[in-house]
Amino acid sequence: MNARVLVCLIWLALPVHAQGFAGLGQGGDGYTLPEPNPDFSFPTDHGAHPDYRIEWWYLTAFLEGEDGQDYGIQWTLFRSALTPEGPQVWMGHFGLTTPDAHFSGERFSRGGVGQAGVSPAPFAAWIDDWQLAGPDFDNLTLQASTPEAAYDLTLSANGPIVFHGEDGFSVKSASGQASYYYSQPFYEVAGTLDLPSGPVEVAGRGWLDREWSSQPLEADQEGWDWFSLHLEDGSRLMAFALRGGSPFYYASWITPDGTLTPYYGDALALEPLEKALVAGRDVPVRWRLRLPAKDVDLEVEAVNPQSWQSTLFPYWEGPVRAEGSHSATGYLEMTGYE
């Protein structure tokens, strides 16, 4: 794909630019807007919502190899409607992180020809031969590859889907921008990573985010820092901060049985402790994360500070380990660092 051609997608699909990362702060005129008190219907809602401007299927997994090393994988399928009437375009991202290397890849597709798409039941999300599919949302396999690296993983959920914000209506700013947002944070993951050095058997825990909206960011919000953590006691924690002129903080505390409690604003504290020079810019790779209501006080550190997704819209995404009040593993995503 020619970079020039798809620079335009910066305006469409993903989160980093003047008007919010990748234009997520632009108007939603003509698109359907998320409404409070959503009434989800499954498996239909696992599929695409073409009336909304953007949507993604976002899988991350922290994995431990038989060789004792930490690994992380990311696989994302983005959908974007260029206008309320279409056309639809698709973008896939591949990420694979080892303690000393990071592999990234991306694919693009037009809508409507079957090169990329999502079917709710049986569930399948694909672009080219990259595919996340299975009989249902709880039991999936994932295959994707780049010329340098590949993964082939099995995912099975041992807990329910959880809904962020107010029953899945996730507010993203003080003035009410919002998205529909739910996750499946209970995947047990196992399989094989194909690395330049050879195959590695891995096992670990995965987290799949589903989110769609038409205007998720305030125009002056520049980017976000997003954490998903699996705590050793079986709890899960998702936390994000939207940076910029109208900062916004949010956290979801998820008990092992899948009960979710949302926390807003000052309830969450995020503090960068250390920055690293990544792809020519300073990016925080060690954080202090506090959620006092749950006695959480963690130091979160990147497994590999250079987990840079050198895609058309570049961003940082990689596995993390956390210590402090709890011990945890998970994923960190950071966008909008210039």
């Binding site: 794909m1 020619n2 970079a3 020039r4 051609v5 798809l6 620079v7 335009c8 997608l9 305006w11 469409l12 260029l82 206008t83 279409g86 056309p87 375009v89 693009f108 597709s109 037009r110 409507g112 020809v113 079957g114 090169q115 694909w126 080219d128 031969d129 010329p147």
Partner: protein, 791 residues
């Protein structure tokens, strides 16, 4: 010493300005026509390369067959990195349309910038297309934006938008991007009925247009040769006239080596001046002819070419090189003689008296040898180069034979002469043949090539028009937007027309080269009209029964497969050749299967185009009905006359450039004649003076000069006609077959030949008029002086 000697040498040119002008203009014309043609060729080559490198199509393998975007998705989901491409000609235009998928196309020249907000959306929805800078955009298309990187004649659109414009659901091919561990052949296994083709070392277009450019080059070379005749005449004359001067300079102590060196310096100076003028002239010629060439190339081969010149330094240098080579060729002989000249060699004005029998015998021998070579090449030669060598042999041989033949004719005339004046006239004419022979040769070449090319174009035109009448037998040609509309149209047309003949086709390799297969219904339209060159008995019944295929003449000649043979039709399978049909204007191979067989072989081919047969009176109302009922844009319902007009326009364009070069060549030949006669006029004074002294008036002498020039031109024209016909035959039966793959009958055009001969006589008359007028007005004192000067 050098300076004085050079001054003395150059003083000759100051006193003979016309000679100087002749030399410079002759060389400039020769160089100009040659460099002009080269500029056109270079420009074309550049455009082809640019077109070939679009989307890196010149380097990537491709998968061909009856493909759709579904197949593209299938290939991508199977893990193959492919990108779809749709190529086609814009309706009612010579522009080529290229449909691409911006999401999967490789980074390559000509990819548009869609980074402005809204551009990607507009591109994907077909509201924005990109065009090459020179493209004239037909009406009714969406917003167009100029993309400088785009190859000439090209319009770029999103693939879905391109499908809508071309009214097809198909794509032309899938480009296979490099990918470790996966071969394009493995993809062909997934998509049955497809084949992998690899890019040819030189592009498709370059190969197709080779013949056209070789044609232009041949004309350029011809013009150069004709121009050189002028230069040779002028230089030869100048050397002869300066022999007394050379003798004086040598006698004063100037060494032969130094004298030769000084004259070489003089030639270099001429090279520089005439070369510069020639290059400027070449630029003008090229700029004037380029739009025509571009239109030809896009019409004939469907490939674009920039309408503006961009010239490389190599081109400028080659112009000088050509001028220098021309001067060396024309002046080398004289220089060589001079270097060996004894210092006090008699300085006799023998300039025009070198017509020795020996020279004539030598010319006769070489001329006959060249003609024999041409005949051998025509019979046994293979390839386009052999074809053009044959042309060269024919023309040069005929030119060399001209002076001996003219001498023979004039000898015969002398024998019939009665009385001293008539005898002197014939003898004087014969005396002038050597001096005029070069100019007359140039005239012969120009006339012969005019007659030859004119006959070829005429033959081609009438054959082509007749063929179009046969081939375009249906009254209306209809294109549906999609299958649904096609069904609605068929339902509506049922009972309203005499016949509905579907037009279906699929792209595939035919005997290893890209081509197309058509499906043809069994109908009287074809049985009665289709032009077959070769066929098995009951060919139409057997075609309808699916026993084999028809192939076009191009394919038959390329492969040597004629009726009864078996041909590999790629995705169409191995088929018996039932017949061969003529297919002018199509550079590629083509085959026809019976409709039932075609449907079975290519079930996915789109069925959106139809030929309609109707009573002539019904055609108008029916067309209006169709337009009203289905809201058809003009390009989707075309009547026979419209297609014919378009085809003929392409044809006329093809030969417009040839005609222009022809006229230029004739002009150069006329100039050569004028130049020779003018210099001859001044040289002949000593020969004319005695006759004048014997009582013939200057008026009578001038008139006889004029008549003699016209008679010589008439003889030349008479010889040029058979040479021209031979040339036409070589063009039609040898060069055309090699270049385009078809052979045409030679149709005589006596009226045209006569007209051209008259033009030649007029040109000769005009060329002789000025020297004759000068002779008429020559002061008697000058004639008397001839007797006073001791020579």
């Amino acid at each position: 010493m050098n300076r004085a000697a050079l001054g003395a040498l150059l003083s000759h040119w100051r006193r003979h300005l016309v000679q100087l002008l002749t030399l410079v203009v002759g060389l400039a014309l020769a160089t100009g026509l040659w460099t002009g043609v080269q500029a056109i060729n270079a420009q074309a080559r550049l455009s082809y390369d640019q077109a070939a490198s679009m989307l890196a199509q010149d380097t990537l393998p491709r998968l061909e067959g009856a493909l759709t975007l579904d197949d593209f998705a299938t290939a991508r989901r199977a893990g193959f990195l492919v990108t779809p491409v749709l190529e086609g000609r814009l309706p009612r235009s010579t522009a080529r349309l290229l449909g691409i998928d911006p999401f999967t196309s490789p980074p390559a020249p000509g990819t548009p910038d869609l980074s402005e907000p809204g551009d990607l959306t507009a591109f994907l929805t077909g509201d924005l297309v990109f065009v090459a800078p020179d493209l004239r955009v037909p009406e009714g298309l969406p917003e167009t934006r100029i993309l400088p990187d785009l190859a000439p004649g090209l319009m770029l659109a999103d693939i879905a938008a391109a499908q809508a414009i071309l009214r097809t659901g198909a794509i032309s091919h899938l480009l296979v991007l490099p990918q470790a561990g996966r071969s394009p052949e493995a993809l062909a296994d997934i998509l049955p009925g497809t084949t992998v083709t690899y890019p040819a070392p030189d592009g498709d277009i370059a190969r197709l247009t080779d013949s056209f450019h070789l044609n232009l080059t041949a004309f350029g070379l011809l013009a150069f040769a004709v121009g050189l005749f002028i230069v040779n005449a002028a230089i030869g004359l100048a050397f002869e006239q300066r022999r007394p001067l050379f003798r004086t300079l040598r006698a004063l102590g100037l060494s032969a080596r130094r004298l030769t060196a000084l004259l070489a310096v003089e030639l270099v100076a001429f090279t520089f001046v005439a070369g510069t003028l020639g290059i400027l002239l070449g630029y003008i010629v090229a700029a004037a002819l380029l739009p025509g060439v571009a239109a030809t190339v896009s019409g004939l081969y469907g490939s674009g070419m920039a309408g503006e010149l961009s010239l490389s330094p190599v081109w400028w240098l080659s112009g000088y090189a050509m001028a220098a080579a021309g001067l060396a060729l024309a002046g080398g002989q004289s220089l060589w003689q001079l270097a060996r000249l004894p210092p006090l060699a008699p300085a006799m004005p023998r300039a025009w008296a070198r017509a020795r029998a020996e020279t004539l015998r030598w010319q006769t021998g070489l001329g006959l040898a060249l003609l024999a070579l041409a005949a051998l090449l025509a019979t046994f030669g293979e390839g386009l180069i052999a074809g053009f060598l044959c042309l060269g042999g024919l023309l040069l041989g005929a030119a060399l034979l001209l002076p001996p033949i003219l001498s023979l004719m004039l000898d015969a005339g002398t024998r019939t002469a009665r009385g001293p004046v008539a005898e002197w006239l014939w003898a004087d004419a014969r005396q002038q043949v050597p001096g005029l022979s070069l100019a007359l040769m140039a005239l012969l070449l120009a006339l012969a090539s005019n007659i030859g090319v004119g006959t070829m174009v005429g033959s081609f035109r009438s054959t082509f028009t007749g063929w179009l009448d046969q081939r375009l037998a249906a009254e209306l040609y209809l294109t549906a937007a999609d299958e649904v509309e096609a069904d609605a149209m068929l339902a509506y047309l049922d009972g309203r027309v005499d016949a509905i003949l579907p037009i279906v086709s699929a792209a595939t390799d035919l005997e290893g080269a890209p081509g197309e297969i058509f499906g043809q219904a069994d109908h009287g339209t074809f049985r009665d009209n289709w032009p077959l060159l070769d066929a098995v008995p009951e060919v139409w019944d057997r075609l309808a029964d699916g026993e084999g295929a028809l192939i076009n003449e191009q394919l038959a000649r390329r492969t040597g497969l004629w009726a009864g043979a078996s041909a590999d039709l790629g995705a169409g399978g191995e088929r018996t050749v039932l017949g061969v049909y003529s297919d002018y204007g199509n550079p590629r191979g083509q085959a026809i299967l019976g409709l039932a067989m075609f449907d079975a072989t290519f079930p996915d081919a789109s069925r959106l185009r139809f030929a309609l047969r109707a009573a002539p009176d019904d055609v108008g109302p029916l067309a209006e009905d169709l337009v009203d009922r289905f809201g058809l844009p003009p390009d989707r319902l075309v009547d026979q006359a419209g297609i014919k007009a378009f085809s003929l326009a392409v044809f006329e364009q093809t030969f417009a450039v040839t005609a222009a070069l022809n006229i230029l060549t004739l002009g150069v030949a006329a100039f050569a004649l004028w130049a020779s006669l003018t210099t001859l006029g001044t040289m002949r004074v000593p020969q004319v003076a005695p006759v004048w002294a014997l009582g013939l008036t200057r008026r009578q002498l001038a008139l006889t000069d004029l008549v003699r020039a016209i008679i010589l031109a008439a003889f030349t024209a008479a010889l040029a006609i058979p040479v021209g016909i031979a040339l036409a035959w070589v063009l039609l039966s040898v060069v055309n077959v090699q270049a385009f793959g078809w052979r045409l009958p030679l149709l005589a055009d006596p009226g045209g030949w006569l007209r051209l001969s008259l033009w030649a006589l007029l040109a000769a008359g005009l060329a002789a008029a000025l020297p004759a007028w000068r002779l008429w007005r020559l002061p008697p004192a000058q004639l008397v002086k001839v007797f006073a000067h001791e020579r």
